[in-house]
């Protein structure tokens, strides 16, 4: 009887372990699949952007800031026009919950002073969405280096930016918001 109980216990523990392993494996597979799909959508955006950029004067160093700002503006307008039907989540897709989790964990790891310093220069009411441009007069929140190390790598022309409770995917040279994850940080964090 004693041996039978022992065997049942071992079997139960083994089953739990197998289910736990399968669950972890599934989660890993789901993350990998989401990541792969996200990369493909980013590449899709980059292809579209490449085509639009080709139709504009090539970017090069110049002493005339008007040429730089005109190109930035025209590129942003052309991208927003080509993606006029784009909506929140089109690029992030099912990476969204993964990103929310990464951001929430990162936020928890920061001291109150760190959190305050992060959004120090951003007006509390600022909310941005897809196809808008980032306001020229408002400083960009520096993307925390430790957080960046955990987020999926982007092509050089794209960047992540935090604004209040939103994670933006921003086109660096077109100054246009490509996508947004809403509610990535707890309420009260702006």
């Amino acid at each position: 009887m004693h041996i039978l109980l022992q065997r049942v216990a071992v079997a139960c523990v083994s089953l739990v372990f197998v289910f736990w392993t399968l669950d972890a494996q599934e989660r890993t597979n789901a993350f990998a699949a989401s990541m792969q799909a996200f990369k493909e959508r980013v590449q899709g955006y980059m292809d579209l952007r490449g085509m639009i950029a080709q139709s504009l004067p090539r970017v090069q160093e110049t002493g005339d800031p008007a040429k730089i700002s005109t190109r930035e503006k025209n590129l942003g307008i052309a991208i927003a026009k080509a993606r006029s039907a784009a909506k929140v989540g089109d690029v992030f897709g099912d990476m969204t919950p993964h990103l929310q989790r990464i951001l929430a964990e990162d936020w928890k790891s920061r001291t109150p002073a760190d959190r305050k310093a992060l959004f120090d220069e951003v007006p509390p009411g600022l909310t941005l969405t897809v196809n808008q441009s980032y306001p020229a007069t408002i400083p960009l929140v520096s993307a925390p280096a430790r957080l960046l190390a955990q987020l999926p790598v982007l092509p050089e022309m794209l960047e992540y930016r935090l604004v209040n409770r939103r994670l933006l995917l921003r086109d660096r040279d077109a100054n246009v918001i490509v996508d947004v994850v809403v509610g990535v940080l707890p309420t009260g964090s702006r």
């Binding site: 090069q60 160093e61 110049t62 929140v141 957080l147 790598v153």
Partner: protein, 319 residues
């Protein structure tokens, strides 16, 4: 009567010293750290830049958080031009927040070209890094000499300069930095960027996130000096793990009373606008921090620290 006049003159002097910092230096009115720093300065150099000491040294000026287009920026710009007559620096490095607010063509004129016109006319090149108030497209603005890159490196004499984008320290930049640092055999390695790894600022403070990623590389590859801005004051940090750190973010903006002098502070000033001059010699870096009125805030000579490679070389020679 004589005593009364004396007292009145003294009182007037004190009022002037409080109302017009930089114009009426008075040892009794200075903050303790400033007084301490000046005590180290040569007496003859108390009110303006001192000439360079070594013949083949690399001479530069350093400004941070400069792009306001306000009177303070113009005053610092004018003082830099005056300082250059005694200390002929070859170039200027910019620690970010190069253009505050809107970035229309007229802003580039008002917030960069006009304040530094005498230097630009004298063909003194500026090498910018990006701050959180800067649109990254500034890297295409030719007078900033960024070669179209957010982060880049250049060599002057015996020194290699690494201009980083501390707003966005992604994997690509870290990889680039490690490669560039590992390739550099230059005598001096100088890194500069916007956010300070060490700071006694009350509003921002040290950027510990950034520090965790870049400091190990600085140590591993022997970076000697780091300049940063972001904090609107001047601070010289006590050497950290063999590296000299400076904050020079008060070249047009000022956050009075924000410098919380503490264990990190070697010297500092948060009551007037400042810029720096530096001379990288064979074995010593000499530096000066000056106000817009040309008053010396801090000065010193810092020896080149032994870097890992030099230690290895010395060990192999000894063997």
């Amino acid at each position: 009567m004589k005593t009364r006049i004396h007292n009145a003159v003294l009182a007037l002097g004190l009022v002037l010293a409080v109302l017009m910092p930089g114009t009426a230096p008075s040892p009794t009115m200075q903050p303790p750290v400033l007084a301490q720093a000046q005590a180290r300065a040569p007496a003859a150099a108390a009110n303006e830049a001192t000439p360079p000491v070594e013949e083949d040294s690399v001479r530069l000026a350093i400004i941070g958080d400069s792009g306001t287009g306000t009177r303070s920026q113009f005053e610092v710009g004018a003082q830099m031009a005056r300082a250059r007559q005694r200390f002929p620096f070859e170039f200027v490095i910019m620690l970010g927040d190069n253009i505050y607010g809107s970035e229309r063509p007229q802003d580039f004129a008002q917030k960069f070209e006009k304040p530094y016109e005498p230097l630009l006319t004298a063909k003194v090149p500026f090498y910018a890094s990006l701050g959180n108030h800067d649109d990254p497209t500034q890297r295409y603005y030719k007078p900033f000499n960024m070669d179209g890159e957010r982060f880049y490196a250049f060599t002057k004499g015996n020194a290699r300069f690494f201009a980083l984008d501390s707003n966005y320290m992604d994997q690509a930049q870290l990889k680039w930095l490690e490669t560039e640092l590992s390739r550099s055999n230059d005598r001096w390695k100088v890194a500069y960027f916007h956010h300070p790894l060490y700071s006694s600022g009350g509003r921002h403070g040290s950027e510990t996130d950034l520090r965790a990623l870049v400091e190990p590389l600085f140590i591993k590859y022997g970076v000697d000096v780091v300049f940063a801005g972001h904090e609107h004051f001047y601070e010289r940090i006590k050497p950290q793990k063999g590296i000299y750190y400076f904050i020079a973010g008060g070249s047009a903006k000022l956050r009075r009373g924000d410098l919380r002098r503490g264990p990190l502070t070697a010297a500092g000033l948060d009551t007037d606008y400042t810029f720096m001059l530096a001379e990288l010699g064979k074995d010593v870096m000499r530096f000066q921090a000056l106000t817009r009125a040309g008053r010396l805030v801090d000065t010193g000579a810092l020896p080149l620290q032994p870097e890992p490679k030099r230690q290895d070389d010395a060990q192999s020679r000894a063997r």
